[in-house]
Amino acid sequence: MATQSRPLPVLFRPFKGGRVAKHILLIGFGLVMLYPLLWMISSSLKPEELIFREPGLWPSQITFKNYSEGWTALKHPFGYYLWNSAVVTALSVVANLAACSLAAYAFARLNFPLKSFWFAIMLGTIMLPQHVVIVPQYIMFSKLGLINTIWPLVMPKVLATDAFFVFLMVQFIRTLPRELDEAAEIDGAGYWRIFMRVVMPLCLPALATTAIFTFIWTWNDFLSQLLYLNNPDNFTVPVALRTFLDASSDSSWGPMFAMSIIALGPIFGFFLAGQKYLIRGVATTGLK
């Protein structure tokens, strides 16, 4: 393995001024990439009739009318949908943390019959397309009378079906020194206590990665919320945003942009707060 591989400016050895040119290019490219986002923010602050007349970023007139209009445009105030989304997301995060870490501890530390078989199955389910199982899942939840409840959205998390995170935590627990477990065992701790008192506290980085990704994925998730929530009283943010498209002709883009910004806000916040864990999570397991 590489012990020290940097710093070494080889590939793009700087000719004079090369660094500066590179930075200018990178910033330019970054701006082009983020332009649509910035434009959406600026448009949400413009009066409706200016949005498409001004492709520039700086609004010549600033108004918060889009926000106040968008907030009340649907059946419920937008905060209602934000709350619904927050409930689904918070429960999903808690459930994922608990269920995935339980399974991961067993796979990483305990011996049991058929362990490698079950582990292979677990890895296999990581790649399983959601669409392959939605039809029977939908039938099951609808026979149980659980359509328009929170269960179809949270139950899969309670049952540790996000195998990605099980795998992430297995990999993490394997790097922890076993001596700690054994020391605790000598002190008379059972598996449960070792799990709770020794392994979990050391797993915080992996738990943080899991929590942040679960948050972002659940907050963004559209298909299952579209499937299972069809009563406007239960709508979450993605489904509510979608009804803007139905309800309005091309006239209400301002309010729609404003609410889209609000919908992206929490993700952006978590992105800023949890970057370290996000980047590490992606780099080690290839999550989104």
Partner: protein, 319 residues
Amino acid sequence: MADTVAVKPRHAEAAPVRGGPRRTLRSRREARAAYLFLAPWFLGLLFITIGPIFASLYLSFTDYSLLQEAKWVGFDNYVTMFTGDPRFLASLKVTTVYVVVSVPLQLAFALGLALVLDRGLRGLTFYRSIFYLPSLLGGSVAIAILWRKVFGADGLVNAVLSIFGIQGPAWVGDPDTALGTLILLHVWTFGAPMIIFLAGLRQIPAGYYEAASVDGAGPLRRFRSITLPLLTPIIFFNLVLEVIKSFQSFTQAFIVSNGKGGPADSTLFYTLYLYLKGFKSYDMGYAAAMAWVLLLLIAGLTGVNFLASKYWVFYGDTK
């Protein structure tokens, strides 16, 4: 496993012989604990993943609509798909074009930017965050809505084009360009594979480059003979992952076409058509059959990827 025995003084004293009665008692206790820890996961396997896979296999041979009993129809659904349903074939074609065009483009951007960002560039973390952000937002409804408007007939792109006196097409409203806008959206989310590439680049020992430089290899030569071969496992990993992921894209096409896959089925993604069949026309047997074809397609493609990898992926001495 030898060390697990060696470092347990208590058991070592009591039962010095491996496999003594205490040990089996202990391992039975351990197995029981393991299955308890795994209980939620087993239930999930039964009801949420493996169970439904087999249920959908059964359903795929039936005519079923939630309201009536399932009626066994043999291979009818599969036959209809490939012989009597032009929309299915259209969705297959749309998705294939989407995957084949957008994944290589996205990975090319990811690799290119990773190469530029590697090697101790100042502000690396800043740039990395900027380029990664779209990956997090890209799957959301809000961004799909934005895309619909950026590429609308009177949207941002056409507003910019009109400054130069160009009259752009309707983009999302035009069957020739609608899919292109979704491909662009996928390429826009190159940040995640870029981060994986960056992690891979960091594993390449600096000594290789030094040695090559001493031997007089220029930057291009070093890239071709060192970076690229040593990075092939990462490229392969990204390729497999992105193909699987992009095959399942749904939200973007749904929002941009307002749940219809139009114009003229040009954005009718496979998953969108599956959704329309299963949950709009309640043709659930057919949808289940589509799901199985999707599963086989993805498994087949991944298999082909793995087979082909023998010819271009280089696993040096690491593994």
